[in-house]
C-alpha cells in the first residue's frame, strides 16, 4: 500500500494534478514529465512515449513521487488528468 505523502512538499507536481493525485488509490501513477536534460528518463520511471526532447509520458510507483521531487533533472510532473467529451 502506498505511503502517505505530504502533497504540500511536492513542488514539481503541476498544480492541476493535485486533486487527481490526492484521489488516486493506485500504486502506479501515469504522468507527463518534463526534464531539464534532453532524453533523460529517471530510473524509477517506465517510459511510455517520447513526446519531445524534454517531455515524455511514463509510469512510476506512487512512492517514487518523492524521488522525482528530489531529482534535479526533473523539471515538472503532470499527473494524468481525465478529459471530457466536448459534445
Amino acid at each position: 500500500m502506498k505511503r502517505k505523502i505530504n502533497l504540500d512538499e511536492l513542488h514539481k507536481v503541476e498544480s492541476s494534478s493535485v486533486i487527481p493525485l490526492a484521489r488516486k488509490a493506485s500504486d502506479v501513477v501515469q504522468a507527463i514529465i518534463k526534464v531539464k536534460e534532453t532524453n533523460y528518463v529517471p530510473l524509477c520511471v517506465r517510459l511510455r512515449a517520447s513526446i519531445g526532447p524534454d517531455i515524455f509520458t511514463g509510469e512510476f510507483k506512487y512512492d517514487d513521487l518523492e524521488s522525482l521531487e528530489q531529482d534535479p533533472k526533473v523539471e515538472s510532473v503532470s499527473i494524468s488528468k481525465d478529459l471530457k467529451s466536448a459534445e
Binding site: S16, S26, I32, T57, S80, L83
Partner: protein, 625 residues
C-alpha cells in the same frame, strides 16, 4: 438532367400508385418517360435509397429487391424503421408488400450535409482556379475520439475496402504489440478482413457503440459519402482513428470512469501515434475532448507536449474544439485587494452522485486564503497559502481544498476545491481573502460534467469559457456557428476566449450546429449533432486541403504559418468589425481563401520551406474523385 415532358409525365403519374411517396412517384414517372435515374455515390443507375416503416423487419431484410437492407431501430412496439436501396422498376412491387406500412425515398441529404462544405467554400467548384486540391489526397487525417464505426461506407473505398490506415483502440487488451504498451492496434488488413464478416465488430473485438460521436466527427472531416451520399471535407484523405481510453487506471473511481474520455497522458500518446504513423506525410489531428480545469495559459505539460509534437516537423496540426460551456455558468473572475474577501457561490442542484471540482488560478506574487462553507453555512475547511486540507467524515475524505503556490510550469498559484460523491446539494461558498496582493486578479472554472453541471449562479462572466487544452500555444481552437441560418449566428453553446494570459482563442469558427453526418451501426445512415465537436473537424479537413495544396506547390508549412493562413483568410460579417471576436475568433473559416493564400505564398516565393524530395510535387490540377 433533361427537362421532363410535362404532358407525358402527368399521364404517367396518373397511373402510378397514388398513396406512394411523391418523390418515388416522380421516379416512376421519369422511368416510364424513358429518363434514367443516374447513379449516385451510394446508389446504382435506376436505383433509389429508401427508408421504410415495416411490421416485419426480417421480411425486409430478406426481400430480394432490397440492397444494403438495414434495420435502424424500433418505431413503436410493433414496427421497425429500415433502410435500403431498391430498383426504380420495383418500387411499386416493394410498396405493395403487406408488411410495409410506409415507404419513402431517402431524404435529399445533400442540401443539409452540404451546408458545411458550401458555407466554408470547400466544394471543389468554389476553390480558386489552378488549385491542386484533390479531396485531401496524400494527407493523413487523424481523429482522437470515441466510437469510430469503421464499417460505415463513408470510410470505405469504392471497392468496399477500408480507408483507415489503422484504429488504435486504447481500451483493448494489452499485448507486446500494443502501442506504448496498451490497447489494440487494428491494421488496414485486419479491418478489411473484419468488414467481410457477418459481425465485423466481434471479428476484431472493437465495438464503436451507438453513440456515434467519433463516427460523426470523422465523417464531417473526411467521409467520402459512399454510404450517406454526401462527402465531408477531405473524402480522399487517409484516416487514422484512436479510440480514447478511460480504463488505463483500474483504481480510478467508477464514477469518474463513466464520465471521462481519455486523459492527458493518453491524449499525447494518441497524437504521437498518429504523427508517427503519418511519417513524412502531412497530418492533421482532430480532438473533440477537453477539460475546464487547468491554467488556461498554454503552460501545462499536456499543452507543451502538443506544442512539441506539432513543432517537430512541418505540415502538422492539432485542432481542438473550443468547448460547449459558454452558457453553463462555469467561469467567474474578480480582483481582490489586500484584506478584502470575495465569496464564490457554487450551486449544486442535488446530492452529488459523482465528484465535482473547481479550479482557481491567481498571480504568483499574490497570497490568498481560502475557506469552504457547506450549504448549511458550516465552515468545512480553511487552507492558507501553500496548504492542502482534507475534509473527512469518519474515515472518508468528502472534500479537498488545495492552495498551491508556485506552479512549476507558470509559477502562478492555484486553488483546487473538490467535493466527493454523497455531498449534499445546495449552495457552497468558497471564500477568498487577500493576504498579500500585488495583482489581485483571479479566474476560476468549474470542471465540465456532461451529465450534471454544477455552476455559479447568474449573472455569469462567460468569457474565458474555452477549454483548457484548447488554450495551447500551437493548437487551433474552433468555435461553432449555425450555418443553417442566413445570418450565421453563433451557437449558443460555443465557448468564449480569450485565454487567461490574454491570447486570442478560439482562432477560428466553423459550422457546428445541427450538422448531419454518419451514424454508427447503420452502414449508410446519418444523424444530427451540434457542438464545437462538429465545428472542429470542418477546420481539420480544411487544414488537410491546405497541406495538400502546399505540398503540391513544394511548400512546407510550419504550424505558425498554418495558423496564420487560416486566421488571415477568415471571413467577417459575421463577426462584425475587424477585431478578433471572443467566440468567432478571427472569423469564419474559408477553404477557398485559405488555399488562395497558399497559392499566393507560392507565387510570392513562399515563406514556407522547401518540401522534401519524397513529397509529391505539383503536376497538374486534380479534382475531387
Amino acid at each position: 438532367m433533361s427537362q421532363i415532358d410535362v404532358s407525358i409525365a402527368e399521364e404517367a403519374k396518373s397511373s402510378a400508385k397514388t398513396d406512394l411517396d411523391p418523390r418515388l412517384q416522380l421516379l416512376i414517372v421519369q422511368m416510364r418517360s424513358g429518363i434514367t435515374k443516374v447513379a449516385s455515390v451510394s446508389t446504382a443507375e435506376n436505383e433509389v435509397a429508401v427508408i421504410a416503416r415495416v411490421a416485419d423487419a426480417d421480411a425486409w431484410l430478406n426481400l430480394s429487391e432490397v440492397r444494403d437492407a438495414t434495420v435502424i431501430g424500433k418505431a413503436g412496439s410493433d414496427s421497425s424503421i429500415v433502410t435500403g436501396k431498391i430498383p426504380v422498376t420495383r418500387i411499386e412491387k416493394v410498396r405493395n408488400q403487406s408488411y410495409i406500412e410506409s415507404l419513402k425515398a431517402a431524404q435529399p441529404l445533400q442540401p443539409m450535409l452540404a451546408v458545411a462544405t458550401d458555407e466554408t467554400e470547400a466544394q471543389p467548384a468554389q476553390l480558386p482556379a489552378g488549385n491542386h486540391v484533390s479531396g485531401g489526397e496524400g494527407v493523413v487525417l487523424g481523429v482522437i475520439d470515441y466510437g469510430g464505426d469503421f464499417v460505415h461506407r463513408n470510410f470505405r473505398k469504392g471497392n468496399g475496402k477500408t480507408r483507415l490506415l489503422s484504429i488504435w483502440d486504447q481500451n483493448g487488451g494489452n499485448s507486446p504489440a500494443s502501442p506504448y504498451g496498451y490497447g489494440v492496434e487494428h491494421s488496414t488488413a485486419s479491418l478489411d478482413l473484419a468488414i467481410n464478416q457477418a459481425d465485423p465488430y466481434s471479428a476484431i473485438g472493437y465495438f464503436p457503440g451507438a453513440s456515434s460521436h467519433g463516427t460523426h466527427v470523422m465523417d464531417i472531416a473526411a467521409g467520402n459519402g459512399n454510404g450517406s451520399g454526401v462527402p465531408g471535407m477531405v473524402p480522399n484523405a487517409d484516416l487514422i482513428f484512436v479510440n480514447v481510453t478511460h480504463e488505463r487506471d483500474p483504481h480510478k473511481p467508477e464514477d469518474i470512469i463513466k464520465t471521462s474520455f481519455g486523459d492527458s497522458a493518453t491524449l499525447l500518446e494518441a497524437l504521437k501515434y498518429i504523427f508517427d504513423k503519418a511519417g513524412r506525410r502531412p497530418a492533421v489531428v482532430n480532438v473533440s475532448l477537453g477539460t475546464n480545469g487547468g491554467p488556461h495559459d498554454g503552460t501545462s505539460l499536456v499543452d507543451q507536449g502538443i506544442d512539441a509534437l506539432v513543432s517537430a516537423a512541418p505540415n502538422r496540426a492539432v485542432v481542438i474544439a473550443a468547448s460547449n460551456s459558454f452558457d453553463d455558468g462555469i467561469h467567474a473572475t474578480g480582483t481582490l485587494s489586500a484584506g478584502a474577501s470575495h465569496d464564490l457561490h457554487w450551486d449544486v442542484a442535488a446530492t452529488l452522485s459523482r465528484p465535482i471540482e473547481m479550479e482557481l488560478w491567481y498571480a504568483g506574487q499574490d497570497r490568498l486564503k481560502v475557506e469552504l462553507f457547506g450549504p448549511n453555512g458550516a465552515l468545512l475547511a480553511t487552507a492558507a497559502p501553500g496548504e492542502t486540507k482534507q475534509v473527512q467524515l469518519g474515515t472518508d475524505v468528502v472534500a479537498l481544498l488545495a492552495n498551491r503556490l508556485n506552479d512549476p510550469n507558470n509559477h502562478d498559484n492555484m486553488i483546487g476545491v473538490f467535493l466527493m460523491s454523497g455531498m449534499p446539494g445546495g449552495r457552497y461558498i468558497v471564500r477568498l481573502t487577500g493576504e498579500v496582493i500585488t495583482d489581485g486578479k483571479f479566474h476560476v472554472w468549474i470542471e465540465r460534467d456532461n451529465i450534471f453541471q454544477s455552476n455559479f449562479p447568474a449573472p455569469n462572466d462567460n468569457t474565458h469559457t474555452i477549454g483548457s487544452i484548447s488554450c495551447g500555444k500551437k493548437v487551433i481552437a474552433v468555435g461553432s456557428y449555425d450555418a443553417n441560418t442566413s445570418t450565421k449566428p453563433l451557437s449558443y453553446f460555443s465557448s468564449a476566449g480569450p485565454t487567461r494570459d490574454g491570447r486570442k482563442k478560439p482562432e477560428i469558427s466553423a459550422p457546428g450546429h445541427n450538422v448531419w453526418a454518419a451514424r454508427s451501426l447503420t452502414v449508410t445512415g446519418v444523424t444530427r449533432m451540434s457542438g464545437t465537436s462538429m465545428a472542429a473537424p470542418v477546420v481539420a479537413g480544411i487544414i488537410a486541403l491546405v497541406f495538400e495544396e502546399a505540398v503540391a506547390r513544394g511548400i512546407n508549412l510550419s504550424i505558425d504559418q498554418t495558423i496564420h493562413i487560416l486566421t488571415d483568410s477568415a471571413r467577417r460579417s459575421p463577426p462584425g468589425g475587424a477585431a478578433w471576436n471572443d467566440r468567432y475568433g478571427h472569423g469564419r473559416i474559408s477553404a477557398a481563401k485559405a488555399i488562395k493564400a497558399v497559392i499566393d505564398m507560392s507565387a510570392g516565393g513562399g515563406g514556407g520551406t522547401e518540401v522534401a524530395a519524397t513529397a509529391k510535387k505539383a503536376s497538374k490540377p486534380r479534382k475531387r474523385k
